[in-house]
Amino acid sequence: MSKSLLKSYDPSLVVHDLVQDLKWDPALRNEFARNEAAVLDRYPLEPAERQAIEKRDFRTLYDMGMHPYLGGQLSRLIWGNDAGGGAIRAVNNLVASLTSGKTEP
């Protein structure tokens, strides 16, 4: 059985734009940290897509077709991006979401 996460990838998902904009735009990133809902309001996300982001439900996002590389980056945008701290927290929460569905808020 293939272990490829890319088989269900759907390039049309809007969450990809959100992640790419966030990593390219520090001002948007700051706003996302302060008021995530206001940023999400500006993207035409499907209701289930938005709900999965809000619930930190990466399993659902991946099943919908989110690219896992950008999923990893979304986790760092949420939980932290520094090598020795936030990024480790992000990886642990991402893996927990994909395997057990349990993550930090």
């Binding site: 996460l5 690219h67 896992p68 590389y69 980056q73 090598a83 020795g84």
Partner: protein, 294 residues
């Protein structure tokens, strides 16, 4: 009428920089020795330019309009890009570009029927270029660099046969399109096994990594092209290991030659296997392959 005077493959795992101090001494030694060899042997080869093929990692283009190969044509390259600085933990750098060589590469690929894209402005670099440049201190050599960012991420991905063809064209361009006497170093940046963003984020496939290092140091390209498939790499770490196709471009450019490995390191916190190879470009290296056919 140019010459390839150096060819190597080396990983760019970001955690290796930020978490280097947490690694055991034997792992640190393999990483350190590999990057020192990269620096020392490139310096000794006296190239006029370094061309690096590396995974773009969805950094420079939208996912819906994604180029398979993007050549950096700027006069200077700086990195890492702002968002990646804390994640990688490396120092800032600036390295000269080589606009003439980048243009010759772009022109040569198009004329050989290989679609590439090129950017004259600054490209954004994450670990792909930043780690080899800073860990190998390539910016301190005073040699200009031409980055070629490759699609190893967005399906459909150029697989081993296509990457090998691109490498063959690269070699042909260096030999026939570049100025007489021009010396070029080639680096494939990426790997080894890893699954960034997946449930196996912490899983390193040591069996695959050791098999891969044996394969690419053997110089047996028939076997490499048969066995180093997209599916094989995805099984060892989805969405990450396939960036080893950047190494396939480099070996396509130099042809079947043996290589030297500098050891293998498997440290869980790096979330990626580590091993580097430098290929033997001497006449003896070619002769050895001819004596030991697959």
């Amino acid at each position: 009428m140019g010459d390839i005077v150096f060819a190597g493959g080396i990983p760019h795992l970001p955690a290796m920089v930020g978490l280097y101090d947490r690694a055991p001494p034997d792992v640190q030694a393999i990483v350190r020795n590999s990057y020192e060899a990269l620096h020392t042997e490139i310096k000794a080869a006296k190239p006029d330019a370094i061309i690096v093929f590396a995974n773009d990692h969805l950094v420079n283009s939208r996912i819906r309009s994604y180029p398979d190969f993007l050549i950096g044509m700027a006069s200077e390259h700086r990195g890492p890009h702002e968002w990646f600085k804390p994640w990688i933990g490396c120092r800032d750098y600036a390295i000269k570009g080589d606009q003439r060589t980048a243009a010759a590469l772009f022109r040569g690929m198009i004329r050989r029927g290989i679609r590439m894209f090129a950017e004259t402005g600054p490209l954004k670099f994450d670990d792909n270029i930043s780690v080899p440049v800073t860990m190998g201190e390539l910016d301190k050599l005073g040699i200009p660099l031409v980055p070629v960012l490759q699609n190893c991420t967005v399906p459909p991905i150029p697989e081993q046969h296509r990457c090998y063809e691109v490498g063959q064209a690269l070699g042909d361009i260096i030999r026939n399109d570049l100025p007489p006497g021009m010396r070029v170093a080639l680096i494939g940046s990426g790997g080894l096994s890893h699954e960034p963003g997946g449930s196996r984020y912490y899983v390193i496939d040591e069996e695959f990594d050791r098999w891969f290092l044996e394969l690419v140091t053997s110089g047996d390209h028939d076997r490499m092209l048969k066995e180093l498939t997209f599916d094989r790499m995805e099984a060892s770490g989805s969405g990450g290991t396939v960036e080893l196709f950047a190494w396939v471009v480099i070996v396509g450019a130099i042809g079947p030659r043996p290589g030297r490995s500098f050891g293998y390191a498997n440290f869980r916190d790096f979330r990626c296997g580590f091993g580097a190879v430098i290929w033997d470009l001497s006449k003896q290296g070619m002769d050895k392959r001819e004596r030991e056919p697959a």
